[in-house]
Symmetry: none
Subunit: 249 residues, 2 copies
């Protein structure tokens, strides 16, 4: 009885609608392109009013789960990472701690991807990574292009893992990462010594993949991240001191 009561308290109309979609999508009963029951019919089926159904469905549209066509119907959407754009913009308008946390997820994905890349990368993958390494080196003085090359270097590594789950998750964070890369370059790339250290770090990462050594690649990539963290830390110190520190060490 208590169990039944709890179940009722949790499954209000709104939740029933959400569950209807989640269950069917995850179970595969509703696939990309499938048409959903018409609103009026579905509202009746779920014993809710149409406005409530529409509220929930509007939410699912904005989360990218559904596509609606007036006069035609509602369809299951193909996942589209662009829906995350507003979310990340919202994050950026607030404090930055969420972004630092997303970097943890980024590292997780990249370090696993680079291990897989050591096993799975083909000639085209290696050529692409190498090419972006070259572009990265050539665009060190241009924050925009350099940031892009840096990002693409990393994304090529993830792509070389040939893991759709990893590339999908990485793609979801892509926009945020791109902004981060550009921002970082603006604040850290004026010292030739720093530039050299960074170029070397990227090169070591690439060579580890070529050498097909997962542990080394993982370690090199983490070292590369650690350098980035250190540079950011120094950059902050520099900012707060307000002095153009000529001497790093």
């Amino acid at each position: 009885m208590n169990e039944g009561l709890e179940s009722d308290a949790r499954q209000n109309g709104s939740d029933r609608v959400v569950s209807y979609f989640k269950d069917r999508i995850l179970k595969g009963d509703l696939k990309v392109g499938d048409r959903v029951m018409p609103e009026r019919e579905l509202a009746q089926h779920l014993d809710v009013g149409r406005p409530l159904l529409r509220e929930v469905m509007k939410s699912l549209v904005m989360l990218g789960f559904l596509n609606v066509r007036q006069g035609s119907g509602t369809y299951i959407a193909k996942a589209d990472i662009r829906v995350l754009s507003d979310f990340f913009t919202f994050c950026l308008s607030q404090e930055q701690d969420v972004l630092e946390d997303v970097m943890q997820a980024r590292m997780a994905i990249e370090c696993q991807a680079i291990r897989l890349a050591c096993e799975r990368a083909n000639e085209a993958d290696l050529a692409r990574i190498g090419q972006w390494l070259g572009t990265l080196i050539d665009t060190l003085t241009d924050p925009e292009a350099g940031g892009r090359a840096d990002f693409m270097f990393h994304q090529s590594i993830v792509a070389a893992s040939h893991s759709r789950a990893l590339t999908t998750l990485y793609g979801a964070m892509a926009e945020l990462l791109q902004r981060s890369h550009v921002q970082r370059r603006v604040t850290t790339y004026r010292n030739p010594e720093i530039v050299r250290v960074l170029v070397d770090a990227h090169r070591e990462v690439f060579l580890s993949i070529v050498a097909k050594d997962p542990d080394q690649a993982d370690r090199r990539l983490r070292d590369h991240f650690a350098i980035g963290d250190e540079l950011r830390r120094r950059s902050l110190i520099e900012t707060y001191r307000g002095a153009p520190a000529k001497q790093i060490n």
Copy 2:
């Protein structure tokens, strides 16, 4: 004129409501914790009906932009990546034909989380992980309870990272894997040697966290996964042979 027409065509009621919130949040006119104009008043202010306003606001709630309290009002929320859990599950569910691949993503998250756990776990975290290790050992002969203890052991490690991004992604994948019954394939083993190896592997993982050694923890966890893979491989061989192999090695 054309410009004005285009502007009108784009700014329907729904878009006006979205813009109202986006503009004010991004400009800082509405900050975390600020109360929003009441629904009826805002609907009038924006020249839309209340149901339409509610549709949009429901969306913004589900995207994590707003918090609502019945009887009190609607407030600007603090960014929280947990709202994206369903989105990630949705994304990954569309790659469901390669579940082994999702296991790679799960491994990525766990290995990064265990590194963070070595730095961030508090006493309560360690006690929880240790407790689930104990339960896991006690329930080795029960597939249901043993499976659950195994899962909770791992989830406690991820929780001990105190990273919302990682725990969110882990949760999204866990839900997917649960529905696919992948984890149920790990059957209980009756060979005492195998049992000992498994228990030892879990214990080593736990001790690495206690020792606060990220590299060792990462390595131990990967070793543990490799053992699991090998056992699964043998399980499949056994299944297809249809022989109760008394002698494993």
